[in-house]
């Protein structure tokens, strides 16, 4: 374990704790940039998919992990971002404008929807957001003249200053675009965390009364968290639309909302890493199941059979296991393993003993 001697206040304000950490992340970024030369088209597509899920995960993480507000309806913001982006492009706006505007529209929608719901706590908020996702699904069908309803829309090719990007035509360019957006979002996320806004999110998460006494406008802060979260999620939705090529109301159904929430829980709540780990699980699970099925059918010698619902069920099993045995998610496990090697042979099993936090009820008995 590295001990950092802080010689100025900037040591706490800086983005990386020490030079070596910055080095590791730089290496990771270089690896991500050269990925198109290492992977074939198929796996590059999977990597792109993972990054898009990671962006959506970061969006939800700001709300759930940082501000402590549950949302079971974030597919609604994926949908708003996606439709806004594509509809703006269909009406002649270039991608470089339509894409950020799509995120902005989703963000504003999140902000204004959150305001009346700011009084809601825990389970009421969860059900309110769940209802939102269902409403948006149905509204897309009702607003058929605009959204083409269940028929769906085609995402046009992305054109950035004359450079055409298509997920199938030049997948590496689309990958780099997604990577670029991912890096921007990570930087923005980190900046918010180390500034007063991020601290007010944490304050609202840990104690609303106390946050209020510190001068934090709780309703506004919740709505801001919703807005930022919905904006990032909307950007992910726009990229998802371009990745899928064609989409309709079913693309962003309630199951996607729930999957998104489950994903960040598996990854580890409250950290950017968690969003990426969770996204890796979501993106790679279907591949792992396909490989597993091939192996099994190879043993049995029978023809391959598709079992509907298997993917969700395995996802569910993994999640139950994590909640019971590693509530901190993959990131929590990763920290433990890293500490084990850093301290070898001095690691003790109870170093990360789970803090028993007793139920702090909002109900007055």
């Amino acid at each position: 374990m590295r001990t950092v001697f802080k010689t100025s206040y900037d040591a706490d304000i800086r983005m990386f704790k020490h030079g070596a950490q910055a080095g590791w992340y730089a290496l990771l970024l270089v690896l991500a940039v050269v990925l198109p030369w290492l992977f074939n088209t198929y796996w590059l597509g999977e990597a792109t998919n993972m990054l898009i899920w990671a962006i959506a995960g970061m969006g939800l993480m700001i709300l759930v992990g940082q501000t402590g507000q549950a949302s079971l309806g974030h597919a609604a913001f994926l949908a708003i971002g996606c439709y806004a982006n594509v509809l703006l492009q269909m009406h002649g706006l270039p991608f470089v404008l339509a894409f950020p505007l799509g995120g902005l529209i989703a963000g504003l929608a999140g902000f204004f929807i959150a305001f009346p719901m700011a009084r809601l706590h825990g389970i009421y908020l969860a059900i309110g957001t769940l209802a939102l996702a269902i409403l948006i699904d149905d509204l897309i069908v009702i607003a058929e003249p605009l959204t083409a309803g269940v028929v769906g829309l085609f995402a046009p090719d992305i054109s950035i200053f004359g450079l055409d990007i298509n997920r199938y035509g030049n997948p590496w360019l689309f990958y780099w675009l997604v990577l670029f957006v991912t890096v921007l979002i990570v930087l923005a996320y980190r900046n918010i965390l180390r500034s007063p806004l991020g601290r007010s999110f944490a304050a609202v998460r840990d104690s609303e009364v106390s946050a209020r006494a510190m001068g934090v406008n709780v309703a506004l802060t919740k709505a801001t968290a919703f807005g930022v979260s919905a904006g990032i999620t909307g950007l992910a939705g726009a990229l998802m639309g371009h990745f899928a090529g064609i989409f309709n109301n079913e693309t962003f159904n309630i199951i996607i909302s729930i999957q998104l929430l489950l994903m960040i829980v598996i990854g580890g709540l409250g950290s950017i890493h968690g969003a990426f780990f969770g996204a890796a699980v979501v993106a790679l699970l279907p591949q792992a199941i396909a490989i597993g099925r091939d192996v099994v059918t190879g043993w049995l010698g029978s023809s391959s059979v598709a079992i509907p619902g298997l993917e969700s069920a395995i996802f569910g099993f993994i999640l139950i296991a994590f909640i019971l045995f590693e509530p901190l998610g993959i990131y929590g496990r990763w920290i433990k393993i890293r500490t084990y090697f850093e301290l070898f042979p001095f690691y003790r099993k109870d170093m990360f003993r789970r803090q028993r936090s007793y139920l702090k009820t909002e109900r007055m008995r």
């Binding site: 206040y9 900037d10 706490d12 304000i13 923005a188 900046n191 918010i192 180390r194 500034s195 007063p196 806004l197 991020g198 601290r199 007010s200 944490a202 304050a203 998460r205 840990d206 104690s207 009364v209 106390s210 946050a211 209020r212 006494a213 510190m214 001068g215 934090v216 406008n217 709780v218 801001t224 930022v228 409250g270 803090q355 936090s357």
Partner: protein
């Protein structure tokens, strides 16, 4: 001296119970004012009224000459009213440093855009907040705990962190809700010194609720005794301690020797 905080005929009812009944008092700029009384006397309710968590049914509350009843609870910090909580309400999943920095929220000058971009202005602001918080850390001897998470801290330290967080607001009026409850004798002594320094060095007016009459007698300029939501006696610590009504409320008798017993007991 001018009145910083004034309560005028403030009444609050919960259902049929009158928790605070026509309470009037004013806290002068620069003094330490204590509220005492048995459990359920309405002391914490007065605190919650001043921090706008409750709306009074009648009466007016003025801070620096202006009524605060039209304002929201989160605006109180901006006016310069800081408070601590009886049962410690810290941000458990954050470090001591981050907790104190939340106290600086009132002084936030950036916005969503500048903070997302972390502009040089925001960076300068962060340094400014750090310097202010570091002064509080020095004042309360919190250096060893700076990077520690609240969840793992002992009770006494959390109590101090709460006081520090309120001081980070740089308030004009500090509300301390039982600052010494659950503390050891030594820790209580520290609290007494800090309250003295808060008053004399920082020039902050203090309104506190406290059961420890020893602490109350040693630091406060004036004391208000409450019982069943009503005002019993107001005056110097000595006057209030020996006031027959106060003695009756505590001991439940009009025994002339009871006053001596109260003083002997505390």
């Amino acid at each position: 001296m001018t009145a910083l905080l004034e309560l005028e005929n403030v009444t609050l009812r919960f259902g049929g119970v009158t928790a605070v009944n026509k309470v009037s008092f004013s806290v002068e700029e620069g003094e330490v004012f204590a509220l005492v009384g048995p459990n359920g006397a309405g002391k914490s309710t007065v605190f919650n009224l001043v921090s706008r968590f409750y709306d009074p049914a009648e009466g007016d509350i003025r801070f620096a000459g202006e009524s605060i009843l039209k304002r929201q609870p989160h605006e109180m910090a901006g006016l310069g009213i800081a408070r601590t909580f009886q049962n410690i309400e810290l941000f458990d999943h954050a470090t001591v440093l981050q907790n104190l920095l939340v106290g600086r929220h009132r002084h936030r000058r950036g916005n969503l855009l500048t903070e997302t971009l972390f502009t040089p202005f925001v960076r300068r602001e962060e340094r400014r907040h750090r310097e202010a918080v570091e002064k509080v850390i020095d004042f309360l001897d919190l250096q060893p705990y700076r990077e520690k998470y609240i969840a793992g801290l002992p009770y006494g330290v959390r109590k101090v962190v709460e006081m520090g967080r309120a001081l980070a607001i740089e308030p004009r009026l500090l509300l301390l809700d039982e600052p010494a409850s659950g503390l050891s004798v030594e820790e209580t002594q520290d609290v007494a010194f800090w309250i003295e320094d808060i008053k004399t060095q920082m020039g902050i007016t203090v309104l506190m609720v406290e059961h420890d009459m020893h602490l109350v007698a040693s630091v406060s300029d004036r004391v208000l005794a409450l019982a069943d939501g009503k005002m019993l006696a107001l005056g110097t610590p000595k006057e209030v301690q020996t006031h027959p009504k106060v003695v009756e409320a505590y001991i439940g008798s009009t025994d002339p020797m009871a006053g001596a017993k109260v003083r002997a007991a505390v």
